[in-house]
Symmetry: C2
Subunit: 187 residues, 2 copies
DNA sequence: TCCGAAAACTTATCGGCGTTACCCCTTGCG
DNA sequence: CGCAAGGGGTAACGCCGATAAGTTTTCGGA
């Protein structure tokens, strides 16, 4: 799995995570992989799960380091989200791109494995937004819907930046999306 | 190319667009493809370009059919965007997923081919939003930035729905994103 | 200490993939 | 009539995921 992540980071191409390349990297014959993983998509799932764990850890660290102001915490969380996607575009693309899901039908991967992947991050974002609402720094009548909307805005920017590296983004596009979708008060 | 699009629509998996499968579909031997396309990623690019053309046509049709109210036109444009992604998730994933771009480095595809893909759609959305601002139905101090932000919101929702089909989306998530990011007035 | 079962790894093989080299046949035009 | 160019075919290479069957290593209990 470490080898798989390394291959992804080095090449920036998830198709480089091949059963045989991983085997070469760890110095064993290709079929020996099947003693540890039932099939190739499962390797991908493991990589994605690990990436999500690290992703959530970074978000949580950013929030904890942002002091006690909910507004600052929300900005820290969102910027950490965008920074992870920018620092590891290939991981982000793999995590959210769903390329390996088409092959899901006839493998050992369950739908639940996939559905619960981002729950922890979503919960953290919701919690942070909720704190902003509690202190009056954000106005929202529907916490869950606005949290989802905010996440989708972040995802849209993060994903598109992870796909097309060069694009003339407006300089304040990130804060614009965050403040707008989070309904932050102007103070 | 028709065969390639058909394969994509039927299987819902862009990896099904294989050089050999396309050749089988049109009834020729695999290497004969190279008389028409220099390599396989170029086939993908052609498919994506065709999809973008159809995409833009549907957006334009929706706007034209929405009467003279800029606000209605904007909603029509955005909903047409989301509808296309929902009706053709595999196309949308292929158009914006950037899977075939990693292989871009050593093929005949130029960076410009990729960069200009969505320009027409972006321009249409910007124009529609601009009309809303002109009539006072939307408030914005930076047309381009807000248009990009609106697009990113639409893209986030469209892409995520195209990847994970089953998710408990808030029922009004689309309109919530549109009205918020477009800064539509409440009237 | 020894032994046997399970775990871990191997080689051989299959079919599919993109790609290349090389050959063949038709078409059209001087 | 000749011949170049366009559009087809075969054979082959190396890569891929996957399976089958055999071999080595590991290790806990008698």
């Amino acid at each position: 799995m470490t080898a798989a992540v390394a291959l992804l980071d080095e090449t920036g191409d998830e198709s480089a995570i091949t059963l045989r390349s991983v085997a070469r990297r760890v110095g064993i014959a290709a079929p020996s992989i099947y003693r540890h993983f039932p099939d190739q998509p499962t390797i991908m799932l493991a990589v994605v799960q690990q990436a999500f764990a690290e992703f959530e850890a970074q978000l949580r660290t950013a929030v904890n380091a942002a002091g006690n102001d909910p507004r600052q915490q929300l900005f820290a969380c969102c910027h950490a989200y965008l920074r992870y996607a920018q620092d590891h575009p290939e991981r982000y693309r793999t995590m959210f791109g769903g390329l390996w899901m088409p092959a899901l039908h006839d493998t050992s991967i369950t739908a639940n494995d996939v559905a619960t992947l981002g729950d922890a991050c979503m919960h953290l974002l919701t919690q942070t937004l909720s704190d902003c609402i509690a202190t009056g720094q954000a106005t929202s009548t529907d916490l869950r819907a606005d949290a989802v909307a905010l996440w989708l805005g972040l995802h849209g920017l993060a994903h598109q930046r992870a796909v097309t590296v060069t694009y003339p983004w407006p300089p304040d596009i990130a804060d614009r999306i965050i403040t707008t979708l989070a309904h932050l008060t102007t103070t």
